[in-house]
């Protein structure tokens, strides 16, 4: 058992636990943040994506030991921001959500790419989404939603 401190959704947190646990399990079980999902459990699907230091990471592939002192934001934390409001509206307007399992990861990927590149091209959006699988919408609507979010949220990123 080791005491680990980091920032979670904007607040400092401390937890005494086994540092060999996956960040995903700590988020879901200890903090009851169930937005990040376990899809493949090996870093191929992006359903568990969260932001670490403002960049997308797969929480199933991050050991808790690597989170010491880091800033972690889950979809729950992002959902309180004005950027999220714009992304959510764009996803709704473009029909970019169907079953919803991949959606938290897709929105984390959107935030991560727009924070580095506020006006991505189609090709850059595809690279930004390349680690996230969706088995319902077929991606085109998600790509459209991201373009719409970038346009409607101009200046937010």
């Amino acid at each position: 058992m080791t005491k680990i401190k980091f920032r979670l959704n904007g607040k400092p947190v401390a937890i005494e636990t086994d540092v060999n646990r996956r960040l995903l399990d700590v988020l879901r079980e200890d903090f009851e943040l169930i937005g990040p999902k376990e899809g493949c459990g090996e870093g191929e699907c992006g359903a568990c994506a969260v932001l670490m230091e403002h960049e997308i990471v797969n929480s199933c592939s991050v050991p808790l030991a690597n989170c010491i002192g880091k800033d972690i934001v889950t979809i729950e934390g992002l959902s309180t921001t004005s950027r999220y409001t714009v992304i959510r509206k764009a996803f709704e307007d473009e029909g970019a959500v169907q079953c919803g399992f991949c959606t938290p990861g897709m929105i984390i990927a959107t935030e991560s790419m727009l924070s580095k590149n506020p006006h991505p091209t189609d090709e850059e959006i595809k690279i930004g989404l390349s680690g996230n699988l969706c088995r319902c919408t077929g991606y085109n609507m998600i790509i459209k939603a991201i373009k719409k979010a970038a346009k409607d949220g101009d200046g937010l990123w």
């Binding site: 080791t2 646990r21 996956r22 870093g43 592939s61 991050v62 050991p63 690597n66 390349s130 680690g131």
Partner: protein, 279 residues
């Protein structure tokens, strides 16, 4: 009960390693999958484990006149975004995994993992990369082909860790990396290829080929490459069958869940041919 170490700096890490054996975990993107436990239980390591991803001494990319130095724990995405990174390595990293994995996965980790299908190894062999390893008392620099000894076998003592990847600055007239996998992202290569050539007018000054996932380690054969130095482009093109034959001996892939040996061999040879024929 296995021990866990999270050293605060490189000196502490090397001191702990000098006393006891630890498995090293950098970004964890391979180690967590390889040692995965059931359901939501902690990762189940068989040995002591040391987490090194946050050791600041292992970050950053620096240069001097002729050389680039990449910190072993520099994340792949940061290497991709850095202006100092050689173009061929950038092209390769862009085809590795996905942004999420590249934000945590490291170049030192890809080398230490020493998978025959490790994508970054192909351009690193081609670029004559040198691996720097340190223990508490010694620093060693090894050529990558000497550091990687076989499938998941590396020349790293229990008291050492990889600190830097050292690459000479080299300009090529033409160089590229090609990966063949089932999906554009997050796919482990069925096979990969890198070629590089430098001309002065039509005279070849430098020629290099490297093949991934077709032998226990990356295939690079300087003794074949050097036969065509000072030859002309047309002479090289006329020698394509002889070059294919020379490499065929070393392209010895296996059947596994990702591909089979016939396909791997055929496509590797086709990539070599097309590199030469398109010059």
């Amino acid at each position: 009960m296995v021990k866990t170490s999270i050293p605060k700096n490189l000196a502490e890490a090397l001191s702990v390693l000098s006393k006891e054996k630890y498995r090293l975990v950098a970004g964890g993107t391979d180690m967590l999958v390889q040692n995965r436990n059931r359901a939501t239980l902690p990762i189940k390591y068989k040995d002591n484990v040391m987490y090194i991803a946050n050791l600041e001494e292992l970050f950053g990319i620096t240069e001097d006149e002729e050389t680039i130095y990449i910190g072993a724990c520099e994340p792949l995405e940061a290497i991709l975004e850095n202006d100092l990174t050689p173009k061929l390595l950038k092209e390769t990293i862009l085809e590795m995994a996905s942004p999420a994995i590249r934000h945590t996965g490291t170049l030192g980790g890809n080398i230490g993992n020493a998978s025959p299908a490790g994508d970054s190894l192909v351009p690193l062999y081609l670029l004559n990369a040198v691996i720097e390893v340190k223990s508490e008392t010694e620093t060693r620099r090894l050529r990558i082909q000497d550091f990687i000894q076989g499938v998941r076998k590396i020349d790293l003592a229990d008291n050492e860790l990889i600190t830097k990847i050292i690459i000479s600055k080299t300009e090529f007239t033409k160089a590229y990396f090609k990966k063949v996998g089932p999906r554009l992202s997050d796919a482990i290569s069925k096979l990969s290829f890198a070629g590089a050539i430098t001309f002065d007018n039509d005279i070849i000054l430098d020629l290099r080929f490297a093949f991934g996932a077709v032998n226990i380690t990356v295939v690079r054969r300087p003794e074949i490459e050097c036969l065509y130095i000072r030859k002309t482009k047309e002479e090289l093109k006329a020698s394509v069958n002889e070059i294919v034959e020379a490499y065929s001996k070393f392209i010895r892939p296996i059947d596994d869940q990702r591909s089979n040996k016939e396909y791997r061999k055929k496509v590797s040879i086709n990539l070599l041919k097309s590199f030469i024929e398109e010059l």
